[in-house]
């Protein structure tokens, strides 16, 4: 099924990120180009078509670029709020500004009205983000250009998002992707960070601060970790991680005593 075709050659129209909403909302997709976000819905009648529900689209002024968009995920099969929430982050390398915006959809059947729930600004560009949601807490991790990952937390009593702490300082590198591991009920979080090399961080939140733990178990096998990592993807149950690297290879990782690369895949299927 083709969602939309645009071949204007216009760089501002390149689709950078795509995110799926939880299936409880049906087949709903968010697509982001550097300047705008559009929400698409799939209707199966008449052979099946994708319709753009957001007109006008959610857009940003020219000097800012939208770098990542993610729907609020379900916690363990339970969609946290009846409404759809969407978070996206922006940045501009030159001006050094970054913003996190959280939107809420008022009518999840129509998908038309998205109102701004929260806006956070920072002095550096935001490059990527990921949500973590549970009945007890909601977090958003954001990768930046200045070698760190910023963590924001939702306070349900104040009904507001606020900055929590910074975690991980990958050396000399822009963070290209962050992803929380699916949590089957552990008392700590695990975050994978794609930067000049792969980093996995497990942490707890204690006294309003991030406490990194399990550093031994989260070491990544060095031999396979000398490549710039672009994107991450955790398996459904969080037992495997797959990364794509600058060398054009896809790597699969599993943890026994530390993170080992169990498989490498090149496009034509030949394992290098």
């Amino acid at each position: 099924a083709v969602v939309s075709t645009q071949s204007t050659g216009d760089k501002s129209k390149i689709i950078k990120r795509v995110a799926w909403a939880h299936p409880e909302f049906g087949q709903v997709l968010a697509m982001s180009t550097p300047q705008e976000i559009t929400i698409w819905e799939f209707t199966a009648d008449t052979g099946g078509t994708w319709t753009n529900r957001t007109t006008p689209s959610i857009s940003e002024p020219r000097h800012l670029e939208i770098n990542d968009v993610k729907f609020c995920p379900a916690y363990s099969g339970v969609v946290k709020t009846r409404n759809l929430e969407l978070a996206y982050c922006t940045g501009q390398l030159d001006s050094g500004q970054g913003q996190l915006k959280i939107l809420r959809c008022k009518d999840s059947h129509l998908l038309k009205d998205w109102e701004r729930e929260k806006e956070v600004s920072w002095k550096e560009t935001f490059t990527c983000l990921d949500w973590y949601v549970s009945p007890d807490e909601s977090l958003i991790a954001i990768g930046t250009v200045d070698n760190s990952v910023r963590l924001y937390e939702y306070d349900s009593s104040k009904q507001d998002w606020s900055f929590l702490d910074t975690i991980a300082h990958p050396q000399n590198s822009k963070v290209y992707d962050v992803s929380f591991a699916p949590n089957p009920g552990r008392s700590f979080h695990t975050l994978a960070i794609a930067a000049s090399y792969l980093q996995i961080k497990s942490f707890k939140i204690e006294g309003g601060r991030v406490v990194v733990m399990r550093e031994q178990e989260n070491r990544v096998c060095e031999e396979e970790n000398r490549v710039q990592v672009w994107r991450l993807s955790w398996s459904c149950l969080g037992t495997s991680l797959c990364t794509t690297g600058d060398d054009g290879l896809l790597r699969m990782w599993k943890n026994s005593t530390k993170w080992e690369c169990t498989r490498k895949v090149k496009w034509n299927g030949v394992e290098p």
């Binding site: 939880h22 819905e41 209707t43 363990s76 339970v78 949590n183 089957p184 969080g238 054009g248 498989r263």
Partner: protein, 583 residues
């Protein structure tokens, strides 16, 4: 540019972008479990596993026997099946048997040899095969394998058969004499172990005495006697008949220490392994660890030995746990080793089309993290059909996972809505007790009536029963349809009563009032038969409702024509009804 996204825990979709064109390919880490023998052990294994949990691990010995039986049955029943799969199942049976006798079985007197002999006979049927071959020859004693056959029979303790063959040999009489007197454990019940040991020592002394004095015609006869005397060199010479060190060990023990206890097995084993090769294979390590009673290590080794298949580790860990052989220490993964292997096995099953419901059962038995994993896995089970969704829903309910059950319904409701089946969507939303959706869909159905002038497929409303009460809108929808049915059936008075009550109750969406009023037109002014159906009071109600709509500005611009028509009709009806009604 390459990219990947997970489909299930073991399947990945790989995407390649090259010069503007994008291709997709599936990459699977799954082991193919589609062969008949695999399906058999998966289903049967699940039955035994469930039994164990129900009986809280009582009588674990007979459950362990049940596992062994199913493995043996699998190997025999699927004889013409995939070779590789069969070999693996045979290996499962071997490992299982050793673990059973070392960790679970209650051995009379602690004697492990009878058990081991039976095991070797089952896994290595070659001696009996050789026997049939030799006996069917014209001149058995001339057959090239004649003596090798006798040796192999002796190595497996087939004493009677060896006697029969030795009778036709030149030195047979003396050897047969000895063998007929050989004390065997299976013939010694009712006597104490120490009595047996004495008898047996005396017997072997006689063998050794004969060896000193014997003057045999054939060298092979001497070798037979050497075996009876327990001379290691001869056993080693015929190691090819044993094929493996554990068979060799069993044979050697039969003629050196038949009352060997389970505890001393490890010592006997370490002598034997070096006879065959100078390094230990992974299988060797598993068996040796079992003989050292290191259950934890056995499981760890099984995991790496059977790389992609968790069947053995999972079921064995469970049995060892119930046999109290595991101490329940927590691994780095945050749970006991039993739970660790069960979780891994369940993860393999949960995303499979055939075995997902079995996977649920295994997850449920993992008391620490099972439910957590189910919460992650169930939303990813593909719900391709109504039937499957219903089954997943039932499974969730059965195990008290109510949030997940509700989620399944909501997903199906959304699917139905997007597929243009509002009725089906309504049913799933009701099951999820998702009032907001029920109301929203009811309104959508009502809106589409306004647009298209008709309802599609609302028969299901008749089956909803008391569920209709969950939402006002749904109740309204049901009654509105009832109104239409009454009109169709010609019961105009009843229809009028219902319509007026609907207008009065304001149960429906405000914008729907105008439609209701339009629906009254056929009932006004005597309807088709000329009979006055609507009373004056009822007419007043409708007129008031029309006025309310105008006051509250609920009417649209294009409606003014309709309003006029309704007003005129109501006024006329009012006049007619007043004339008819008694004062």
């Amino acid at each position: 540019m390459i990219g990947g996204a997970w489909i299930t825990e073991k399947k990945l979709m790989v995407l390649n972008e090259d010069a503007g064109s994008v291709e997709l390919r599936q990459e699977s880490l799954e082991v193919d479990t589609s062969s008949a023998i695999n399906k058999y052990i998966i289903f049967e294994g699940h039955s035994v596993f469930s039994e164990i949990q129900l009986s809280s691990g009582n009588d674990i010995q007979s459950h362990s026997h049940a596992y062994r039986s199913l493995l043996r049955a699998a190997i025999q029943e699927f004889e013409d099946q995939d070779e590789d799969d069969k070999k693996i199942v045979a290996l499962y049976e071997l490992v299982w048997s050793f673990c059973e006798v070392l960790f679970v079985e209650h051995l009379p007197g602690g004697c492990v040899l009878p058990y081991l002999l039976e095991l070797m006979r089952w896994h290595f049927p070659q001696p009996m095969d050789m026997l049939s071959e030799v006996l069917t020859a014209e001149e058995p004693s001339e057959h090239p394998d004649f003596w090798r056959c006798i040796v192999s029979l002796l190595l497996q303790g087939h004493i009677k058969e060896s006697i029969a063959m030795l009778r036709v040999t030149p030195d047979g009489d003396e050897l047969v004499g000895l063998l007929e007197q050989m004390p065997l454990l299976e013939n010694f019940s009712g006597h104490s172990l120490s009595e047996f040991k004495i008898s047996w020592s005396m017997w072997q002394d006689r063998c050794k005495q004969l060896y000193e004095t014997a003057n045999f015609v054939m060298d092979q006869s001497t070798e037979i006697l050497e075996i009876l005397c327990g001379q290691l060199d001869t056993f080693t010479k015929y190691k090819d008949l044993s094929q493996t060190w554990y068979h060799l060990m069993t044979s050697y023990l039969l003629y050196t220490n038949p009352t060997v206890s389970v505890m001393s097995l490890h010592h006997a084993a370490t002598e034997m392994t070096s006879v065959f090769r100078d390094h230990l294979t992974p299988l060797d390590e598993v068996l040796l660890s079992a003989m050292e009673f290191d259950a934890h290590r056995v499981l760890t080794l099984c995991i790496s030995l059977f790389q992609n298949s968790w069947w053995l580790a999972a079921h064995l860990a469970d049995v060892l746990h119930h046999a109290k052989q595991l101490d329940g220490t927590e691994l780095a993964a945050g749970c006991s080793i039993r739970e660790y292997v069960l979780l891994n096995y369940a993860s393999d099953l949960i995303f499979s089309e055939e075995f997902w419901s079995l996977g649920v059962d295994y997850f449920i038995e993992c008391k620490q993290m099972g439910k957590g994993y189910l919460q992650l896995a169930i939303p990813r089970i593909p719900l391709e059909s109504e039937r499957k969704a219903t089954r997943v829903y039932s499974a969730c309910q059965k195990h008290g996972l109510m949030d997940l059950a509700g989620s399944v319904c909501k997903v199906m409701a959304a699917k139905a809505r997007q597929a243009g089946s509002p009725g089906l969507s309504l049913i799933w939303s009701l099951q999820a007790k998702d009032l907001a959706s029920v109301t929203a869909i009811s309104e959508e159905i009502l809106d589409s009536y306004i647009e298209t002038g008709g309802f599609a497929n609302l028969e299901f409303l008749d089956q909803l029963g008391s569920n209709k009460l969950l939402s006002n809108r749904l109740l309204f929808l049901g009654k509105y349809r009832e109104f239409h049915n009454l009109v169709k059936a010609g019961e105009l008075r009843g229809a009028a009563d219902l319509l007026v009550s609907l207008v009065e109750s304001k149960m429906g969406p405000p914008r729907f009032q105008i439609t209701l009023l339009l629906d009254s037109l056929p009932l006004i002014n005597g309807g088709p038969t000329g009979e006055i159906v609507m009373s004056s009071r009822q007419t007043y109600v409708l007129m008031k409702a029309l006025e309310d709509m105008q006051i509250k500005k609920l009417l649209k611009e294009g409606d003014s024509q309709k309003v006029e028509t309704i007003r005129l009709a109501l006024v006329t009806n009012l006049a007619s009804s007043l004339l008819e009604e008694p004062w």
